[in-house]
Symmetry: none
DNA sequence: TAAGATTGTGGGTAGTTGTGGGTAATATCA
DNA sequence: TGATATTACCCACAACTACCCACAATCTTA
């Protein structure tokens, strides 16, 4: 069952094969609307993982980037680092995309890989690295959650 | 007789079968409005149980998550931990949903299972675990209820 | 109370999904 | 240009899931 178009939730464990391919969760593929042309866009995440957008979602980001002015140094840097590592990738008949070697390296991907739905994108993690990151996350100052409590009710 | 749309109250005892399915109380199914598409969303609860939302209720949460920015580390962590364990599940002709193995493990579900209405969601417990948790709850400092008294009239 | 409808539980099966590997087309480089 | 590496596309198969039917227990209603 798919919720909203182009949104992703849930956790899925897959394996990166010898050819650098990773399966995309069937549910995520089904969540894509047709104008995404079976294509995802991979790029560096802000944590040690790969971010994967639907084509449409990425086009939205491109639009935002265009609104930044190259007169500002910080804007130039931000646009450069965001656009630089982005790679569109169409999945094959079995539903796999090929991950560029530089991204495999960046996220230290090994055989065991975890894909996590982040609503408007997904993340690809080395399973072991994520466990480490999660432990650190627990050490985050809980007071920081107060800010969130004002925005979100669960 | 159903009270309000999309709200759940009461306690029901069911069994988890060998295929990981649990029946949803008929009353809860009837409480769903049509645009829920016979779908619930399961995820980790804050206690050792599974939380089950109606599709609509979950979509509200998704909306909140989308308002958070991935530039903030704490926001990323929160979105990840919230979206990660969520799984939409449409009930079959008999009214059962399939619980993902990871959640069965998280809540230590056994054959005997208790479903509890929590108004805007429900909880699925291992019957024995709930008894234990209940005993501990009795030991809560009753002074803590003072805080609640300011928010709630019963 | 009896007949019918609804509810909860078990299990079979066809279709889907994830993974490995082969081969032909394309790109790279000396 | 020709040898080599890389990529895109194809097939095969095991494991899993969604969907279907059956039936006993319970509830409803006349």
């Amino acid at each position: 069952m798919t919720l909203t178009k182009n949104t992703f939730i849930g956790e899925y464990s897959y394996s990166l094969d010898s050819k650098g391919r990773i399966n995309m969760p069937a549910k995520f593929r089904q969540a894509l609307s047709k104008d995404n042309k079976n294509t995802f866009v991979t790029t560096r995440g802000m944590d040690a993982c790969i971010w994967v957008y639907s084509l449409n979602q990425w086009l939205e980001i491109e639009k935002s980037l265009m609104s930044l002015s190259s007169l500002s140094k910080i804007h130039r840097t931000f646009v450069r680092n965001t656009a630089r590592y982005a790679t569109p990738s169409t999945y094959d008949k079995q539903g796999r995309i090929t991950i560029p070697p530089s991204l495999i390296d960046y996220a230290s991907l090994d055989k065991d890989v975890l894909i996590i739905g982040m609503v408007n994108k997904m993340e690809i993690w080395n399973t072991k690295n994520l466990e480490k990151a999660e432990k650190e996350a627990l050490e985050i100052d809980l007071a920081a959650y107060d800010e969130l409590a004002e925005k979100i009710t669960i």
